[in-house]
């Protein structure tokens, strides 16, 4: 991973102040309380320093390979492709990572960073619990105590992730609400204990997190490039990914930002579709699109079924990519997502998490009628164990 900046490249990352873009159009920034500001600056420096350190990056790659089992396969979804009858659909199989989602790569990167910074304790927020259990696994592996915060709504939905996290030795603090509330709460906990390391789970919140998470997750897109060239001798025509905060999507997109011919499509949940229906605001540390009240006093309660994408806001880099037209964003409904879950289970023998099924909804729409050599790569960013109870409740287990 070179850290050199290429002129005019979209891959250069935000400026020193954490902004993507300039002037009025700048997205991101440090909208943080003073207590954390020095901590954040320190983190930013430590990050910049770490990624210049070859031995650090080598260590990250070592555990990516041996513990996470990267690269995750680029899987030709043969049956789905046939069924839809159009573009060739590939899944980037992040669900096969150790701990079952893309989240673990970011956890590994930041845990190594926390160790490098000599931090003694880790705090995390989580929506779907995927980040919580992945972070707990990573912290167990690297012997760091960890405390997670989750909303009660999500705790009920994805209980298995919580049991796992606890087995790894993590503690949980529950708050009313969902991911939004968990983030606000963990920022407060961090403010109360600024010596701890906040391991942010998505490409959101105050700088430097959007950049750090993007950096760690960009391995997804790098692998896609290599694998797609190997399988198909060309780049994909489109890359699709779901967005909560936007870490798996920015991870999949980033490598291709300068390859203008590759279409990048992000998919949110219907009620939390900040990029389709939101307005620019500043909350939870960042200036970005969000579903908020007109006066900026309230982040709206969203209610999408997949906890991991049920988030009122979105990472600032996505807002920027939308504004400049480099990426497109849309949304899927709970019903579409559940139907697509079933379709993928029944055609490809993959029990997916609900979140990535939002992306596959769009993949199906766009694949139809495309030529056979048109390639769509969709990030299958998590496996479905965590969602089984909810799906059973809503659709039964027989789908009849």
């Amino acid at each position: 991973m070179s850290t050199e900046k290429i002129k005019n490249s979209l891959k250069n990352g935000p400026d020193e102040l954490g902004y993507y873009g300039e002037g009025e159009k700048a997205r991101g920034g440090f909208a943080s309380g003073e207590t954390l500001m020095p901590i954040l600056k320190n983190l930013q420096d430590a990050f910049e320093d770490a990624i210049k350190d070859k031995s650090f990056i080598d260590k990250f790659h070592y555990y990516c390979k041996h513990w996470i089992n990267r690269p995750s396969p680029l899987y030709f979804a043969e049956n789905l492709t046939k069924k839809i009858g159009g573009a060739k659909i590939y899944f980037k199989s992040e669900h096969l990572n150790h701990t079952g989602s893309h989240k673990v790569t970011n956890c590994l990167f930041q845990t190594l960073l926390a160790l490098r910074m000599n931090k003694k304790r880790v705090l995390v927020e989580s929506g779907a619990g995927a980040h919580f259990s992945a972070a707990a696994a990573t912290c167990s592996k690297f012997s760091l105590p960890i405390l997670g915060v989750m909303g009660n709504t999500d705790i009920r939905k994805v209980n298995s992730n919580i049991i796992k996290a606890k087995h790894y030795g993590a503690k949980l603090e529950a708050v009313d609400g969902s991911l939004k509330e968990a983030i606000t709460h963990v920022l407060k906990m961090w403010t109360n204990d600024p010596d701890s390391y906040y391991l942010c789970g998505s490409a959101v919140a105050t700088a430097p997190f959007p950049r750090i998470v993007q950096y760690a997750q960009s391995i997804i897109g790098k692998e896609i490039r290599e694998q797609c060239l190997k399988h198909e001798n060309k780049l994909p025509n489109e890359i699709h990914a779901c967005l909560g905060g936007g870490s798996n999507s920015i991870g999949a997109f980033h490598e291709f930002l300068d390859d203008k011919e590759v279409k990048l499509v992000g998919v949110e949940g219907k009620t939390s579709a900040a990029l389709s229906k939101g307005t620019i605001g500043i909350m939870q540390g960042m200036k970005t699109y969000m579903i908020q009240s007109k006066d900026g006093s309230v982040a709206e309660q969203t209610k999408d079924l997949p906890s991991g994408i049920n988030y009122f806001s979105v990472g600032p880099q996505h807002s920027y990519l939308k504004d400049i037209g480099r990426a497109e964003y849309t949304f899927a409904t709970d019903d579409e997502i559940l139907d697509t879950y079933k379709l993928v289970a029944r055609t490809e023998g993959i029990c997916s998490a609900l979140e990535p099924m939002a992306a596959v909804c769009e993949t199906i729409k766009r694949a139809k009628g495309k030529p056979k050599d048109y390639i769509i790569v969709t990030s299958l960013c998590g496996r479905g164990e965590k969602d089984l109870d909810v799906i059973e409740k809503l659709r039964g287990s027989d789908f009849e």
Binding site: L17, G18, Y19, A26, G29, F30, A31, S32, G33, E34, T35, L36, M37, P38, I39, K180, I183, T184, L187, K188, T191, N192, D193, P194, T279, G281, I282, M283, Q284, G285, K287, Q292, K294, D295, G296, S297, V298, A299
Partner: protein, 269 residues
């Protein structure tokens, strides 16, 4: 630079020795009661009132102030209502310092130019925005505009703030410097007096602005101890918000809270 003439006057007065700064959540528990409470606070010797406007994702509020803000949000009282409230406070008293305090979200959506225009009209003395460090573009806009309009921009410094940054912030701030007594959210920790003392000394190395210190001041005794560190003002918030939340049904709420406030202003006189 203090900027607001009124704040200048407040801090240059001999008495009270240490100014008392009271924080209230604006429109809490209702618009009317909030007005009564602030009036009672002024009547009982408060020099400056910080009136908070509410945001759902406020990141520096402990559970007590959060509950109060959630109530305000549920009542649909907005920043506009808080400005109206401030206007009535100003109408009631021309000498008290009035600071609006909250998060950048509401100001950004107002948007900032309109916000300045409104508060100028209402004769507000200063603004404090918790999540707008000088790294933030909106902070820059706000700071510039406030300055142009002679409204103070209160900046916070924290125990985590390193010296160089402290100096920078002191240079940028106006009105007074808000010194955080500990690293953390409102109302959750206790104050380590020797730490505060060191910090106040450090701040005073960098600026001539008055220093008001807040967070964790729960009792008049606390306030007196804090005053001994050399600060010009002591800020109390959570203790009063807590009192309000616990006495919502008290028909003499403002009067009783006033007595409570009186104990603080007496001890600081």
């Amino acid at each position: 630079m203090i900027l607001s003439e009124r704040l200048k006057k407040i801090f240059s007065a001999q008495k009270p020795k240490t100014k008392f700064v009271a924080y209230f959540v604006g429109c809490h528990p209702t618009y009317e009661k909030s007005l009564d409470i602030i009036k009672a606070s002024i009547d009982n010797g408060t020099s400056i009132v910080e009136i908070g406007y509410s945001t759902s994702e406020a990141s520096a509020e402990g559970p007590i102030i959060k509950a109060a803000q959630d109530r305000v949000i549920a009542n649909k009282s907005s920043l506009k209502d808080v400005i109206n409230l401030a206007k009535e406070v100003r109408d009631y008293n021309k000498d008290v310092g009035i600071i609006l305090m909250g998060y950048i979200s509401n100001l950004f959506m107002f948007p900032i130019p309109n916000f300045i225009e409104e508060i100028k009209k209402v004769d507000i003395d200063g603004v404090l925005v918790v999540d707008a460090p000088h790294e933030l573009k909106e902070e820059n806009t706000l700071r510039e505009n406030l300055k142009k309009n002679d409204i103070a921009f209160i900046k916070l410094v924290a125990p985590t703030t390193p010296n160089e940054r402290l100096k920078k912030i002191c240079d940028m701030g106006s009105g007074y410097i808000y010194c955080l007594n500990y690293s953390g959210t409102t109302g959750v920790k206790s104050v380590d007096l020797s730490q505060v003392k060191k910090m106040v000394e450090k701040i005073k190395n960098y600026t001539n602005l008055p220093v008001c210190s807040g967070f964790g001041v729960k009792t008049p005794q606390n306030a007196k101890e804090i005053a001994s560190t050399g600060v010009e003002g002591v800020i109390v918030g959570t203790a009063f918000v807590d009192y309000i939340e616990k006495n919502l049904d008290d028909t003499n709420l403002s009067k009783n809270l006033g007595k409570n406030i009186k104990e603080f202003t007496n001890i600081l006189n």
